[in-house]
Symmetry: C2
Subunit: 139 residues, 2 copies
DNA sequence: TTGCAAATGCAAACGATTTGCAATAAGGAG
DNA sequence: CTCCTTATTGCAAATCGTTTGCATTTGCAA
């Protein structure tokens, strides 16, 4: 993501600052979907002087230029995700809070169809599945 | 909803109080998906002494006993909906904020299937479509 | 190197929601 | 019908996540 980040910032006239570099690093190291406080914690491990407000501000900018996405799964705080290369939806493990990504062309197609039938052009959607692991039982 | 409300409260040991009656009335009169402040506004039209905190507390209780559902469509404030008789999802008109209900057995089935394939038992889901009306163009 | 707009840290502000507490009222017992 | 216990209420203050104003610092183009 490093390159992508530098390039994207340049393209949008954002300066390559210390805090932004650190935040970008923390993001590319994140293989999960942390919330902002958690991300700030990780950023502070690299540089404890970066403030929470800078993290918030930077995340908004990164989202604006398409580097990340911000989701609110539970109605609670925002969770961060590196810019997806391909579209996908999420399954949230209700026991652990873990987020699993998936995609379903069939569902995508149905969504467009449903919107059209209701007289709308689909401009976006959100699909979240909530589930309990079933493996545990059998194994 | 009047009867349903009295009965449900009785069944769960909730007292039938003045504020609760008013809130239940405002809810059954609502044919949209108001947020809490808007609902409180409507409640106050009937009785200006009912406080916002009582509305919040009552809504939580009503949700607990299944009289209503609370959604957070946009990541912003909570929107209220009378208990649905049948399950459905929502399409949000991005121009007007209006909410349209729909249901799709095909999608429901696919969701269960996807969760299973990922090793999960589906315990819940959220599906929201966002769209722009297309009728306007043609007519 | 210099100069200036962009970016930062801090603390205060915010909007939505929750909570502690003393006062009030529902509704079963007598 | 009145009394008593306990749930419920209104109010104000607290919380939580997020945003913002402002004085200070810092990229970076010239």
């Amino acid at each position: 993501m490093r390159e992508n980040f530098v390039e994207a910032c340049r393209r949008h006239g954002l300066r390559i600052t210390g805090p932004r570099k650190i935040i970008a690093e923390a993001l590319s190291a994140a293989h999960d979907h942390p919330d902002v406080r958690e991300l700030h914690r990780r950023v502070m491990e690299r540089d404890p002087t970066v403030s929470l407000s800078t993290v918030y501000r930077t995340l908004r900018q990164f989202a604006d230029i398409g580097l990340i996405e911000q989701h609110t799964f539970d109605g609670r705080s925002v969770r961060i995700e590196r810019a997806p290369t391909a579209h996908h939806d999420h399954l949230i493990d209700t026991q652990s809070g873990r987020v699993i990504e998936f995609s379903s062309p069939e569902i995508e197609a149905l969504q467009i169809e449903i919107a059209r039938r209701l007289g709308y052009e689909l401009t976006g959607h959100r699909l979240e599945l909530y589930g309990r692991p079933l493996a545990a039982k059998k194994r």
